[in-house]
């Protein structure tokens, strides 16, 4: 389980996260929702150990940050993070070299699923193909948790559908997925839990099935209620 406990993050005097607390369990898809600047990406980066927090604790299966967390979680950012001159095949070799949990078979499957070209250079990829490569790199790791930052941001409808198909496939089964997205419609039916953020705080968190059955509302309905107040 990913436990975010009373986490505060300040950039200078600005508080980006303010005593933020929530959990994300294995086998569930949890979505962090919020308008721009509410601290969604900072939260993912903090969980991935990429930005230190000012206060509070983040535990992955009960352990604080250490080098082994990257054997437990993969962070899939919304921007390219491999060198522009590297070809896709070089990137795959790089990952295979450094990550003991690299699953070459799954990487091959995803590579064909996304219809990528191994000789394409990272710097020449479109936004959609870059998102696919990032997904390939993250999902080919045999890790328990996957953090995805805006996987649908700025990409065409066909690529979005292809990426959404990944969620419906067995690739994220049994893993804990923590995702941030604006394009909630694409994956609303797949979500288990939603955490609504505002000004770095949790405004509301709920299981999607609960609000569907008890209140007959969708995630978007709840978003309207919370953010229009």
């Amino acid at each position: 389980m990913i436990e975010v406990m009373e986490v505060t993050k300040k950039y200078g005097r600005k508080k980006v996260l303010d005593s933020l607390s929530f959990t994300a369990e294995k086998g569930e898809i949890t979505c962090l929702i919020g308008v721009n600047g509410t601290g969604k990406t900072t939260t993912l980066k903090a969980i991935a150990g990429l930005v230190p927090v000012s206060k509070g604790k983040i535990l992955i299966d009960g352990e604080p940050y250490n080098k082994h967390i990257y054997e437990k979680l993969a962070f899939i950012p919304d921007a390219p993070i491999m060198l522009p001159r590297m070809k896709i095949k070089d990137v795959i070799l790089f990952m295979r070299d450094f990550y003991p949990d690299w699953n070459a078979l799954r990487a091959k499957d995803l590579f064909h699923f996304f219809k990528l070209n191994e000789n394409d250079r990272i710097g020449d990829l479109s936004k959609g193909n870059m998102a696919k490569v990032n997904l390939l790199l993250g999902l080919s790791l045999d890790v328990d948790y996957v953090l995805m930052d805006e996987p649908f941001s700025g990409i065409d409808i066909f690529s979005r559908e292809q990426i959404a198909d990944v969620f419906a496939s067995g690739l994220v089964e049994n893993r804990g997925v923590l995702i941030t997205t604006h394009e909630i419609n694409d994956i609303e039916h797949l979500l288990d839990k939603a955490v609504l953020l505002g000004d770095g705080k949790v405004l509301r968190k709920f299981y999607t099935e609960d609000i569907r059955s008890s209140e007959g509302k969708s995630v978007v309905d709840i978003m309207r209620e919370v953010y229009r107040q």
């Binding site: 150990g49 990429l50 230190p52 080098k67 054997e71 993969a74 993070i81 060198l83 710097g123």
Partner: protein
């Protein structure tokens, strides 16, 4: 250890094209220097000898104007220029090796930070890459010198030439003496000191990457304090208490001080990259 070696290999490969270009420039430029130095000398000599038309004119020329030796090739821009260029490139690269990962077209620092290795391996791998590249340049120069010497001998007529060994030429030329010190202890001290400076800069960069604006000041302060610590034994035993220690003893104290600075730079750098540096 395996990850560390992979990281060093990766870092060196990232700079390989520029590195080998610099090596190629050095080789071409230094051979050009040897050729031009000899060519100028012989042209001048031939001009004067031709006008005098005497069988002993060449000897007279050498007697009057002096002979040419291998060391004469060192003092040209063609010879020292590429060395300065390589040195400048390495100084520039000490900063670039970090900042390109944050400010490059793609933020590769995300991937580096997320590798399943102890983060201070990143710090040490970058430092080791710089050290290996510098030593690589030195190795290339050490290999080049005898070849250039052979080339010099091959194109210079015996009558004009003053023979000297490569070692003599290097030791007689002040800049080379700095680059390739004669004694092993001097070599270790010079390059150990240079490596320590790299570590101090690395740690200052990580202070900046951790605390941004405040980090710039902290980095400058850190560099200044390290500099003060390095000069403390010199100041103490050369200015305040002269004659208390022999030069050799002072040198060993300086070696120890340098090792302490290198040690705490690595410790602080390792701490910063693990707990404080941010993407």
């Amino acid at each position: 250890m395996k990850s560390f070696v992979k990281l060093v290999n990766f870092e060196i490969n990232r700079f390989a094209k520029i590195y080998w270009s610099l090596v190629a420039i050095t080789i071409l430029s230094q051979f050009t220097s040897v050729f031009l130095t000899v060519h100028c000398y012989i042209s001048q000599a031939n001009g004067i000898v031709y006008h005098q038309s005497l069988p002993t004119a060449q000897l007279a020329y050498v007697k009057h104007y002096g002979s040419i030796s291998f060391i004469d090739c060192f003092g040209t821009v063609w010879f020292m220029g590429p060395i300065a260029l390589c040195a400048a490139a390495m100084v520039f690269y000490i900063f670039l090796i970090w900042y390109r990962d944050w400010y490059g077209k793609h933020t590769f620092i995300y991937r580096l930070f997320m590798l399943p290795v102890e983060r201070w391996n990143l710090y040490l791998a970058k430092a080791a890459s710089i050290l290996l590249m510098v030593l690589g340049f030195i190795a290339v120069q050490i290999i080049l010198l005898p070849v250039e010497h052979f080339f010099f001998n091959a194109i210079t007529p015996r009558i004009y030439r003053m023979d000297m060994t490569v070692a003599d030429a290097v030791l007689s030329f002040p800049y080379f003496n700095l680059l390739l010190p004669g004694a092993a202890i001097d070599f270790l001290f010079h390059y150990g000191l240079g490596f320590t400076v790299v570590l101090v800069i690395f740690t200052a960069i990580l202070l900046e990457r951790s605390f941004r604006m405040k980090g710039i000041l902290l980095g400058l302060l850190y560099g200044f304090l390290s500099f003060v610590l390095f000069w403390t034994p010199d100041f103490l035993f050369e200015v305040l208490l002269p004659g208390v220690l022999h030069q050799q003893e002072l040198l060993w104290i300086e070696v120890a001080t340098t090792a302490i600075i290198a040690g705490y730079s690595i410790l602080l750098g390792g701490y910063l990259i693990k707990y404080k540096a941010t993407v």
